[in-house]
Symmetry: C2
Subunit: 485 residues, 2 copies
């Protein structure tokens, strides 16, 4: 069993990144196309990855005092129309139910593209006094946005997500909540998915329709393009006033509460694929990996098979739980196929480690642990596996994050002229930190001429007087440009 | 603090059961009406109950080898039409998307009323050989059925549920799977929700549209009416053949696989309310109760408040986890309100125990544990609480089940003539075990004349030659009649 490359049937990542992505998603059985245009089937392996990040995010959100609940799928047209900027932003993407129960509806019902409009109407009776605030809600559901060009996980007509919705007595408190939401996303992205992110504010043009402002985290994929990994919106009093929500404040004055909303979706499964994958397929961070260790038994004779099986059973029994009470997620591959086929199978699926156990290993009282990323091999005494594996998995998790961070740093450039900007976008890609005057016209011109957009005004971008790369007017700080998904 | 009844603002259960139910659901904040006809908002307390039963069922289903995944919300009309009986059964209830992304659709899309038709089409490529079987899938999602008369949780236009879908190489294996699904439901109903159920087969008239047969579990509510608590369908080759699914069997013959599907929904939150609730509101089984113990501090002076708070903190710290690692779910009610108000509040919400701690209790080194069902009071030494509470909660769980079982037994009657049947239905209600010849005409006549339907042909109904209560033809066994939700 050498560590030589096996034949893989996926498009080369370095030749055609989008083709590679689609191949990996389909062949690692994360998802499949469905009989419905733009909608996908999330297969068990992809859904388990979603469940892992969903459960972790759910735990984080609950820890901040939010409670889960459920609002209906349908938004009556009249409600969607109440917030003017909101409806303008979403109307072109809405799917409408016009007929139900055998008759035409008096009023069409939108399939929720997001739930702000419905929630503002729904919570009206619950918010009477400042004592009813803050109202911290979280929803796990499906939403529909009619997209023209779809891509598995990244942009689908229907997707699964979490949407938090909150109402507060003061703007300051709402602003803190916007930050709380984004911090939950940062933790899941960085600590669970091993994807480093940059947080900041969206430009006016890129903000959520109906929001006062939008904050977001942005990540770099392996092709150096950007991907928005979560957004958190300050809604101000926009939806509250549109719906007529008012509460009696401490000073006995009736006021409209300040709202926020923030969302994180199944597109992050796609982000995980694109942030870590390589020529052999998926590379999954251990925390999110449905299978962390794939055991491949090696044997030729029935006698060897029995001995290997006994050894594996002993290892599994010992592995059940580590000292911290965490079970290591192990799958033993007893399929009737060659070891090489199995190596390929588990590499494509991004399992962090495979464990090879054969007669020669048994004779030496060991097994061979092979790391997915660099295929390095380590002989581990069988009895040492239970305390070795958790440490190896933790280190692997850290390594993936560090690798992604180094990759992002290596592909982030500071640029001061539009000419240099265009050259970098065309020839190198990646993130570009460049001065911008704040004008929407300049922003649009860059987008039209280069395909790069302002992803974010980074929180940690220091004050730095400079000239806008487009029109030379004063810029106070650099903003982050990139081509994006 | 006496145990006398407090004023409750809910309709009396004994006067008007439906009114009582709606009051409890709204006032205990399980759910609320929404701006969308027939759709409800599930509020945090109700959603937490759903999460509890959902997570337990999910654990059980995964333990049987099913994997979670996701299929789209939309079913193209052409797919829904493929299975004739299926479309006939569901078409009148379907909500149709006819317009999306700013244009009329070429083909209307049904919002899934259930996913059989879409799944049969979606899995076609995955089932090539007997090696691909069984295919054991499970979905958690929302479905829409346009109902004319809706009731919170019990019958809503949109509801949340779990739908399992499986394909098997043989009919025997599929039949075993139908039983597996129903057994998962029985365990959740009986062991988690403390609701005793009777399992059996539905009549031809009551089976799922498109199924060969349907099995179900039926429960009795506190008004002695029946509620269907979960169904499991043998689909045979109906959907497989309609969609053209074929696999190469071991004998090299191409065959259509045998399908099953089974579902369990948010209506079980309503069932939990109706199976246990009393004049004071909800009565929740501890396993599903979001809060198991409500602590009500009793004090008049600030000095007492501080001492009570210190004692409560010590109890909470000790309660964290019991010997089995389970945390007891405790809520301390520090609101600025009277103890009586708080007692009422937690009783309405069905919290199994409240714990009163006041200065006199502290002087005696104890707290008073009050049981929700009979309001019995027990003085428990403070240091004994950590090992006392888990046992009390377990006993309470068993007591609720036993109480519901005794109630069902007391309201189940054997009847041999139609005259007696009509009298029992009108004057006593409950479950009626009566002979039936198997004819759909007799079944329909009973339903039309009495409102009672055949809920189920119970699995444990022994062979018993008798005369059908309607037309006197031979009956082989008694079936279960009842008025139902």
């Amino acid at each position: 069993m050498s560590a030589s490359p096996y034949v893989t049937s996926i498009t080369r990542q370095s030749d055609d990144f989008p083709g590679w992505y689609t191949d990996v998603v389909l062949k690692a059985e994360l998802a499949d196309y469905s009989p419905v245009r733009g909608c996908m089937i999330i297969r068990p392996y992809g859904y388990a990855i979603w469940e892992s990040m969903r459960d972790e995010l759910d735990r984080l959100i609950k820890a901040t005092g939010h409670k889960n609940m459920y609002f209906p799928l349908f938004v009556p047209r009249s409600l969607l129309l109440k917030e003017a900027e909101h409806v303008e932003g979403f109307d072109p993407q809405v799917a409408w139910v016009t007929r139900a129960g055998g008759r035409d509806l008096d009023e069409p019902l939108a399939i929720r593209p997001t739930s702000e409009a419905l929630i503002a109407e729904g919570v009206k009776d619950w918010i009477q006094s400042y004592r009813d605030l803050p109202l911290l809600m979280n929803l796990w559901n499906n939403v529909v946005r009619w997209e023209l060009r779809t891509r598995l996980f990244l942009r689908t007509t229907e997707f699964l997500w979490q949407e938090a919705h909150t109402f507060h007595a003061s703007e300051e408190e709402a602003a803190a909540e916007v930050a709380t939401g984004l911090e939950c996303y940062r933790v899941v992205a960085e600590e669970w998915l091993a994807i480093p992110v940059i947080s900041g504010r969206k430009t006016e043009h890129e903000k959520f329709p109906g929001a006062v402002y939008t904050r977001a985290i942005e990540a770099m994929m392996r092709d150096t393009k950007a991907l928005q990994a979560g957004t958190s919106h300050m809604l101000g009093q926009n939806f509250s006033k549109a719906a007529g929500i008012e509460f009696l404040d401490r000073d006995n004055v009736r006021r409209a509460p300040f709202g926020t909303s923030w969302g994180f979706s199944t597109r992050m499964v796609g982000a995980t694929v694109m942030a870590h994958g390589d020529e052999f397929g998926l590379v999954l961070p251990p925390r999110v990996a449905p299978i962390q260790v794939a055991v491949v038994p090696i044997f030729r004779s029935e006698e060897d098979r029995v001995r290997v099986a006994e050894a594996i059973d002993r290892v599994l029994a010992a592995l059940g739980e580590d000292a911290a009470g965490r079970a290591v997620r192990v799958e033993v591959d007893w399929r009737d196929a060659s070891p090489g086929f199995k190596f390929n199978h588990w590499e494509l699926r991004g399992v962090p480690f495979r464990l090879e156990i054969g007669p020669r290993d048994l004779a030496a009282g060991q097994a061979v642990l092979v790391k997915r990323t660099d295929r390095s091999r380590e002989a581990v005494p069988l009895e040492a596996l239970p305390h070795t594996l958790p440490g190896r998995l933790d280190a692997y998790q850290r390594e993936l994050f560090e690798r992604a961070l180094a990759f992002r740093d290596a592909n982030t450039r500071r640029v001061d002229t539009y000419e240099a900007f265009r050259t970098v976008v065309e020839e190198q890609g990646g993130f570009i930190l460049a001065p911008w005057c704040g004008d929407g016209g300049c922003e649009r011109r860059v987008a039209e001429e280069t395909g790069a957009t302002i992803r974010i005004i980074p929180d940690d971008s220091p004050d730095e007087a400079a000239a806008c790369i487009v029109d030379g007017r004063p810029s106070e700080r650099r903003v982050l440009f990139a081509r994006a998904y």
